[in-house]
Symmetry: D2
Subunit: 473 residues, 4 copies
């Protein structure tokens, strides 16, 4: 409904607790924001048999008491998935469970493989059968076909053949393997709950189950979580990392620590930097809830302006919604947000959001605020203009639908009907996540810069878009 | 799940729009916070026949496209209901539809009648039959039995016999009557959508459908909304009003205007006054989301302290939740709230909430913040101690379960493990809602003061509690 | 879907067993053929409070384990209801539970009151409110308004004011009253299960729970089932009885004993008499399953012809059915019935059914059999032509839709495309149910003869039909 | 619930009709008796893409209008599956859809492969991954891995590697392949609906959609159904056939023609032969409905005894059933069957059923009839004693649970408390299905005789049972 980039998945796992599936359920509950299309859990049941339950829907709807009871055992992994256009089918839900020459396995994957199509064709030619349209199935096939003598070797083999982004959990009857790709695009953290170990896309899920963060799974690392503890299977360090900066901009929950930084903290720093880069005479700073809240707090602090909740969010917004026959102005946004007239009327507003994708929602919000009496609305965005699609596991519109790829700053401002518009600079953005090393060699900012890891990729965008544009004439 | 007083209902109505039931659905959607147990709509269908649909559950779950299609017509009213203990049954859902000597009618009621039991016994003795345990059914019986020659007279008759709190909508084939009790306990507002009229418990519902507020239905007033417009049927002014102050403290949505004041505004004034009454050296002001947010903003502004989102709320919290077998400390609260360690660690916090009922949730939150490293937690509450039950339509625990009725301030502070505790004074509270008249003769503060409208009522509490206490020995 | 008269309800009750609601569930399960629209149970819970659960749907779908668990207590009554046109609404489901001046009561009713509309108007004028469109609600109002000092007196009072057909169970906290109208139109039987007592519309429900039949509740009798046993409250004998002959023709289950006769037995006697009245040279006797099975067995025995299952019934026929876009000949019937080509091809058939209402289904069946190769199809019907509507609790079409009310025997034969057609005579029909007394003063045959109990009733049919016919021009 | 062997599946397909999925739905509806666990349909949608929907449950519950609308196209296949112990999981539902090197395919399979485990191990060793525990998945893998250049060659390849029983439909974007194993264990018939072609496990499904039977798919034959019509791809005739005799004994619907004979007809011949083999002085012949009905008709005709419906079946028996806490004698059977006391009391009965598996149900039925007053109950079974498990697609208990494998005739008679017991002889059974050739070389009777097609198979039973017996000590 809303005009945002979307994360594709969340991954969670527990090794060594009698109620493992129940804890995974809780973990997925905390990771629900990373995927609302489907939810699934696989556990190691009696006699080492892998059992699984998955379905379209929210974690809390998919998993009833009865269903969790069907997943006994003290080892389990789980997955939540976001619905990308066209791919919203049960067969794409994860974990993927399969019987292979290396025994029964289950796979939960967050990310996107850039050589997925190529691998799929190759494997089909060799006789492989595919039951889903998801890249993630490739891991299973590559493991099953590996010449390695055991699962561990086969997993190393499989990872050596895939390119792109992955944070992946591989469940086997007596261990969980956890791995991140050599660039470390997508996050994955190792935690501890008493004697048990746990992995998660984000630390907020550890908080819910009372686990402590141990450390991130490193880029290029494979861990084996076993009865004896955690063992580093391999660590293939690359020449650079490419952590997804959008986790800090929008995806991750603010109470998570991602790539070594508190998300809430980083977002406030974005806001402060934004205030320095784009000051404006105004009365109040108003966030678009909830995505703009922390940046707005930072902006307000830096600018010395009052922070105000000028837009209120309806907490009961659900999946279904029956629109009235007679159209109401700005209706779609109103279901979710409502201005507080008394707070904004007659005021000059700095309106803060994390990003602008197509611009349509921003336009409705600006209009709603002006209808409520705001005298000026100055839009400030806590990230640079999003002009390029992502290939590493984020669902983005095609390039020509990204308003910033075809319109100048001023055209965008005019489109959204704001009185002024300012985006955070890429330098400012990266500065906010700086720890010891140069963030330029640690983060991927391709969606802002078009600087993909491989030059041919940005080429690919232009060619593909041109082809699509010809085809659609 | 949470330790709050609960509102009992929301009422909405539309007269004069072809898609009336659809608009009522939207209105109820916006009023969902006033009642999550059941939702219902009644409309005037072909040949003036009243049709209705109601069910246990959320508005968005109860009303499918198909169901709304079964409610044609350009006049409709709706109701959301909160689940009070023991009374959670479909037969109590509203609107109540009935065939009477005055024709078919439907009733939607927010409030509680203080002479309900007495009237019920009297009516049963006269041969009336009751299908629910809800007070609201009394309206229907009193109308049916009135000697008045028409529905309007019968409604006036009925209202003259009931005591207590009501904001009520009465649907008849060609009009909607809207009425508030002479004390005006519960809110009800009249709006306009083009040529059509609409009524609502709160103005936020008007915003969603694009209607404008016309005015409040006055205390003691009965309106008839008809094809010719709105007509004042009667206005029985009482010697004083008794608007529920808790609407401003907690119930109403911050984007509503209630009893002539913006809720968001009033809550910030509560916060500012609280800062003046209970200052404390601290580093940051942290709200309990979402109930404490506006008061915390006010407190921070007045105290000159930074406002920080030190607690993050999980937006996917739903109805069902499967707890793990092995108990996790503070689990119940963690599902909903999580501290942001990086923001609170090592800091002295002013923690703001709107009220403390039993104290158990506050205790868990304080503990959670200290576990996350907060060095001090100073609890500030933006209303006085809640020590008395309500008889006018709010679901409150019995007196002895209200921590403030049996414990001193200091005992409460100790129980919730806060470093200090301060409540807003009743004077401060009332000052914040002052317009022209003395708020002391306009608002009901019985839940804080025990000063009920009739002296015998507070007597009744003590007697009933004593009896219950004897019975439970 | 099928062209039959329909019974309106089944009633069941248990007094004195710890799992009363569960036994009522079983009883309703066995009575499911008497009503598939809704099912409901009311039990006497803790502290004598009457609890109830009812919903649209089949007994087995409505009542889950969880739902039955919500109905504790050792006294309970239940009801299944058939969906008559227009009245298919939850508010019409029974038992009806109500709080009255005589305490809480629940009512389950099978039948139809002939002075229902009149009573309803009268009661509304006195201030009564109606929540359903069902006649059965009248019992509750009449009881509530009775001047009698106790429930028993009020029930006697109430019954003295209603006219028409009723077999009714009235649940009070410490007893069940069971009553039949003075004509005894609808059946009701008393049974015994150990020390407990039970009542049922049919004896087949006793068989399922292992109860024994004690006796019928007599026409005009009121029984009170209490802790001390069964007490006759009143027995108002009328000048004659008017048992519904259609219970034997079609409604009752063949394994029930109704009005003192085994239904299976009576139907075979119908068949034998039919063979005597309408013999025909033929090869085999084929029933329309399942309604014609027993009559066909009797016909075959008497005629000395082989009985053959030339039509097979699909046992999985359910509620929903998705028809193909491209119409298939005789499709509706085919879903339920299929001829066995090998058994009927080249044969002369006697086809037996219990009745013909509109004739459309018979026509499809005859055609289906001829398509399957039958050389001749001689239709024989085990009851007289149904030419008149019923006012006593059976759902029948309007008179002009009854093929036998407007068409001669020969015209009907031609319409259904049979080679010959024979109906059982009314004399033959009644002879088959003769025990000691003259069945002519014991049974109602108005649907065949138009001889209603009161002369003005048949007059009423003609007038109403004429009016309807004028109105529809 | 009942003590019967169970068929494992039904298969249906349509080529060349715009509403193909709808017709497949109807076909599956008619085949529901062959599998109640799950139902699925795959169709060829726009751009030749194979779409599918499948779920646990009955055909009518799984397929809503909306769901069928998601399956456009004029080619479709479907499958119903029976729930075997342990294997009741959605992943085992069919059709199985997969992307392969030969394009997208869908497979629906009835039968059981005797070299399934062996093939699975072999394929896993080659890197194949398995998503279900069903044999049927092997077809997909063997096709995907075939060296053949096209799908047709790959299918021939695949069939050359599997052993055991299969009637299989293979859906490709432009054709349906239909095949039966060389022994022809399981039935599959080709039909015609106007210009379109259709395949089905049984002819009764053709009747429902108005199709005509063309001929059986021959044992060992592969057909390709294409735009140009039906083409014989291959016909590998074996030295003998091994049609499952149990299709005639119990599985198939009586209105089907199976293996060239009318099922209703064959069952009556079984009954007549049974009367010749085991005559007994008696008053009436009573079938166990519905399985014994046709055999009972045959017995009664041959014996010159009256056929009587002494047991009546409840047609509303559904999936769920809530048993009362206090056990009732013979309860489980009573839910489904009830004796008609008036027909059986004082009579000597010949009770006819098709088979006895464990004997527990027969015992309850005999007892129920004696409780209802039957003076003698002579059990007659229209097939030989079932003493051996089946490997060819029928779900049978383990050998030691088959009463006839461990008990003599007389011991069985005593166990079921019958006055006498007679089974149809194997010779008598086979004689009833004789057409031109010797049925001994056409039918499989291994469940009666233990004469499996390969000697090692019966060896295998004894060894496995011994091992299981040791293991369970």
């Amino acid at each position: 409904m809303f005009d945002k980039f979307h994360d594709e998945c969340g991954v969670f796992g527990v090794f060594g607790r009698p109620d493992a599936a129940n804890l995974v359920y809780l973990g997925l509950y905390a990771l629900q924001h990373r995927g609302q299309e489907s939810a699934g859990i696989a556990s190691v049941g009696p006699e080492g048999r892998i059992l699984s339950e998955k379905e379209m829907g929210y974690v809390a709807d998919v998993f009833t008491q009865e269903r969790i009871a069907r997943l006994p055992g003290d080892v389990a992994i789980g997955h939540v998935r976001y619905s990308t256009a066209g791919g919203s089918m049960l067969c794409n839900a994860q974990p993927i469970v399969a019987g292979t020459s290396k025994g029964q396995i289950a796979v939960a994957h967050n990310g996107n493989l850039t050589n997925g199509d190529e691998l799929r064709k190759q494997l089909e030619a060799e006789g492989a059968i595919f039951n889903s349209t998801a890249d993630s199935e490739l891991f299973v096939h590559l493991i099953a076909r590996s010449k390695a003598s055991d699962l561990e070797g086969a997993f190393i083999d499989a990872l050596s053949r895939v390119q792109g982004a992955y944070a992946v959990a591989l469940l086997a009857p007596s261990r969980i393997f956890a791995a991140r790709d050599p660039y470390g695009f997508r996050p994955l953290v190792l935690g501890k709950l008493g004697d048990a170990h746990t992995i998660s896309s984000e630390t907020c899920a550890f908080d819910l189950i009372g686990a402590e963060t141990v450390r991130e799974v490193a880029a290029g690392e494979i861990l084996a979580i076993e009865a004896n503890g955690v063992r580093v299977v391999r660590h293939a360090r690359g020449e650079r990392e490419a952590r997804c900066i959008f986790e800090h901009v929008y995806f991750a929950r603010p109470d998570s620590v991602v790539f070594g930084n508190s998300v809430a903290d980083v977002r406030q720093r974005f806001g402060r930097q934004l205030a320095r880069e784009h000051p404006v005479p105004a009365d109040i700073v108003v966030p678009v809830p909830d995505s703009g809240v922390f940046a707005a707090l930072g902006y307000a602090q830096e600018a010395g302006l009052p922070f105000q909740y000028g837009l209120v969010r309806n907490h009961y917004v659900g999946r279904t919604f029956i629109e009235p026959k007679q159209t109401i102005r700005s209706f779609g946004v109103k279901v979710k947000l409502n201005p507080v007239r008394e707070l904004v009327a007659g005021k000059r507003l700095v309106l803060i959001d994390d990003s602008i994708v197509r611009g349509t929602t921003s336009k409705k919000i600006v209009r709603m605020l002006k209808d409520a009496g705001a005298s000026e609305v100055h839009m400030r965005v806590s990230s640079p203009p999003t002009s390029w699609p992502c290939y590493y596991g984020i669902d983005t519109p095609r390039r020509k639908e990204l308003i910033a790829s075809t319109q100048s700053n001023d055209e965008i401002r005019e489109f959204i009907e704001a009185d002024s518009l300012g985006y955070l600079s890429e330098d400012g953005l990266l500065e906010a996540v700086r720890n010891d090393d140069d963030p330029r060699s640690l983060y991927c900012t391709a969606c802002f810069s078009g600087k993909y890891l491989r030059p041919e990729e940005s080429e690919a965008v232009l060619v593909a878009e041109a082809a699509a544009s010809v085809a659609s004439r």
